[in-house]
């Protein structure tokens, strides 16, 4: 149907409760080591002021961790990058708190919880923590959230010729909301995409086509069962290709009728 120009993947980051960091995630995906037996504590959002670090919701801690690691890997100063933040559900813990409090004592809603409940909270804290005036967006597309985010980030690179950091995350659901919005553990991923120059980075070519679920790439690595219950799990086939050094393809669902073919050099 249509393709975007090739972009360079300058930085990759990955953080899951059982795969805390891209180095360990890559090794587990490639079968070089077993996943750590225990869950890692959530990352510390060191970009924030000390008082805010403790109070930061899980979504913010997770998103800031992977965004910062991807920028480090790309050797790009974060303040200059545009950003795309994406989450299937946003902060499920805060939504549970808001709904439960509204059902009982609505006038006692915490103002901090309320302003942290917006879908763009992680993006807002990222721009505050990095002193960035560059535009961000915050999107959601249900099962298609990661595919939509990477497409938007590559579209911005194609339009503006500037690097973009693309961040996607989902956290654990709590309370009654978890029965209709199930998600386990923390899973965050980030990519720095930039205009492709030369061969020093792996290149990503995205193509959008009509198609349906039977055509999507299944996650097959030893990491798959670990992340399967997180709402962002549909991103894993993309990172399974990146974990190996050889070229590969992943086909992700982009909407009910569209597929995103991702070809990585």
């Amino acid at each position: 149907m249509s393709a975007l120009p090739r972009v360079a993947i300058e930085g990759v980051a990955f953080w899951h409760t059982r795969l805390p960091g891209w180095a360990v995630a890559r090794a587990v995906i490639c079968g070089e080591q077993d996943a750590p037996a225990t869950s890692a504590p959530r990352p510390t959002p060191s970009l924030l002021a000390p008082t805010e670090r403790r109070r930061a919701p899980d979504t913010v801690a997770l998103a800031l961790e992977v965004a910062a690691r991807a920028c480090e890997a790309a050797n790009r100063p974060p303040a200059q990058l545009r950003s795309v933040f994406a989450s299937t559900y946003g902060d499920l813990g805060i939504s549970d708190y808001m709904c439960a409090t509204l059902a009982g004592t609505p006038t006692l809603i915490s103002p901090t919880k309320f302003h942290n409940s917006v879908h763009n909270a992680a993006a807002g804290y990222w721009t505050i923590g990095t002193s960035s005036h560059a535009p961000y967006t915050a999107i959601s597309a249900y099962r298609y959230t990661f595919a939509s985010a990477v497409l938007e980030a590559a579209t911005q690179v194609a339009c503006d010729g500037q690097p973009v950091v693309c961040v996607a995350f989902d956290v654990e659901s709590t309370g009654p909301l978890g029965t209709v919005a199930p998600s386990r553990g923390l899973l965050g991923v980030a990519l720095v995409l930039a205009p492709a120059h030369g061969e020093s980075h792996r290149a990503l070519t995205l193509r959008v086509e009509q198609g349906n679920a039977v055509d999507i790439t299944a996650a097959r690595s030893p990491a798959a069962p670990l992340v399967a219950e997180n709402a962002l799990a549909p991103c894993l086939p993309f990172f399974e290709v990146l974990a190996h050094s050889k070229p590969g393809n992943a086909t992700l669902a982009l909407s009910d009728h569209c597929l995103l073919h991702a070809q990585m050099s």
Binding site: H119, N120, A123, I139, S140, A141, T155, P176, L254, S255
Partner: protein, 399 residues
């Protein structure tokens, strides 16, 4: 590789539904006759003492049976918007021209259908589970809105929901324009919907930003916002021969605070300048500005100074929140639509309910309506998390 350049897009259809009116004609009448849609808050089981912009009758308009999976107040209001001004018919015609897979859906909201989740928590069964009628996963995600709009319009292309608080349905114009520019779509349905819910009413109350009286944007004695609900949509096309123009847009971040604007309006100023630059306009060429003008103490102070600094005295600037309330994630599309109504009809709405303008306001900010032929407008949207977006809209020849 050379980047594809921004080129203006046609707005070939648009509509707006707020407490002040359903559709363009009713909205124009309300603006012209200065009829506010604000009423005393009667929403929910224990209403706060404030005023709201409530769209009447939503309780009685169930979605058509085939959309029962998406049933909730927010999608009811979305449906109300899709059928207003024959918007869905205009999309159906575009679907014939381009194909269902070539029309993107990029829709903004701040809270989507969280009201359905709030309702479920008030009616949990004895085991703490959702009531059976609300065990529908799609309405408990932020993408409830974008997914519903795509299905209701029988489109099969890219579809996503933008949720950047009060800038959401302004930023959708930028995101859709980029998809069209790189060739991933030929046209796009943009817009936004937000409905009244406990989260925003009690949430803004906890921040002490809610006014107990009718909101008074830019008034020296303003006391805060009134929350409203709204739906609005626009159809953007590259090749069309008629329609208004999306001339440009600017987006930026404040990098300052989660719930307060930058005191010097650094991000807002940058968004204005980027919008003017992409539209190849100067401040002197702007006839009308629909301001964010929420009637919160800080927003209006920062925005008034920005307008006084950047624009000539002939530019007519106002806030229309006195008609609609602050419709949050829908504010961007509501005010883009009002700007287009102003361009179409030469009616510049003033600022309703405001008695004495804050001394920070320059001569640009007006209370009274004015009839004047206009060609170029800006619409400002600034949100929580420091997300700013300014749209440049126009009529007539471009370039």
């Amino acid at each position: 590789m050379a980047q594809p350049r921004f080129r203006p897009l046609r707005v070939t259809a648009y509509t707006v539904c707020t407490a002040a009116g359903i559709g363009r004609a009713a909205t124009l009448t309300a603006l012209d006759q200065r009829l506010s849609g604000l009423t005393r808050n009667d929403f929910g089981p224990s209403p706060l003492a404030t005023w709201i912009g409530r769209v009447p009758g939503l309780e009685q308009c169930a979605l058509p049976a085939q959309w029962a999976e998406w049933e909730c107040r927010n999608n009811r209001l979305a449906w109300c918007g899709l059928v207003a001004d024959d918007f869905a018919d205009a999309v159906a015609a575009a679907r014939e021209r381009y194909g269902a897979e070539r029309i993107a859906v990029v829709i903004g909201t701040s809270t989507a259908s969280i009201g359905a989740s709030e309702d479920a928590y008030r009616r949990l069964d004895p085991d703490g589970r959702y009531p059976a009628d609300l065990r529908r996963p799609i309405v408990h995600t932020p993408h409830s809105l974008g997914d519903f709009v795509q299905h209701a319009l029988a489109l099969r292309g890219i579809a996503l929901t933008v949720a950047t608080a009060c800038s959401s349905s302004a930023k959708v114009f930028g995101q859709a324009e980029r998809l069209i520019r790189v060739g991933l779509a030929d046209a796009a349905v943009v817009g936004g919907v937000d409905t009244l819910c406990g989260s925003t009413l009690f949430g803004f109350n906890s921040l002490e930003l809610i006014a107990s009286e009718r909101c008074r944007p830019f008034d020296v004695a303003r006391h805060g916002i009134n929350i409203g609900e709204a739906a609005g949509f626009a159809l953007l096309e590259r090749g069309a021969e008629a329609g208004a123009w999306l001339l440009g847009y600017g987006e930026s971040s404040d990098a300052h605070h989660m719930s307060a604007p930058h005191p010097e309006g650094v991000g807002a100023r940058r968004a204005v300048q980027d919008a003017l630059e992409s539209a190849q306009l100067t401040p002197a060429s702007i006839d009308y500005i629909n301001l964010h003008g929420t009637a919160s103490l800080k927003n209006d102070e920062v925005e008034a100074r920005l307008v006084a600094d950047l624009f000539p005295s002939r530019t007519f600037a106002s806030s229309t929140k006195g008609w609609t309330g602050h419709t949050l994630g829908a504010a961007g599309i509501v005010e883009a639509a009002i700007s287009l109504i102003a361009l179409d009809n030469g009616l510049l709405p003033g600022t309703l309910n405001t008695e004495q303008l804050d001394p920070a306001c320059g001569p640009q900010i007006r209370r009274e309506n004015e009839q004047r032929r206009v060609q170029r407008a800006l619409s400002f949207s600034f949100g929580f998390g420091g997300s700013n977006c300014v749209l440049a809209l126009g009529r007539g020849d471009v370039g």
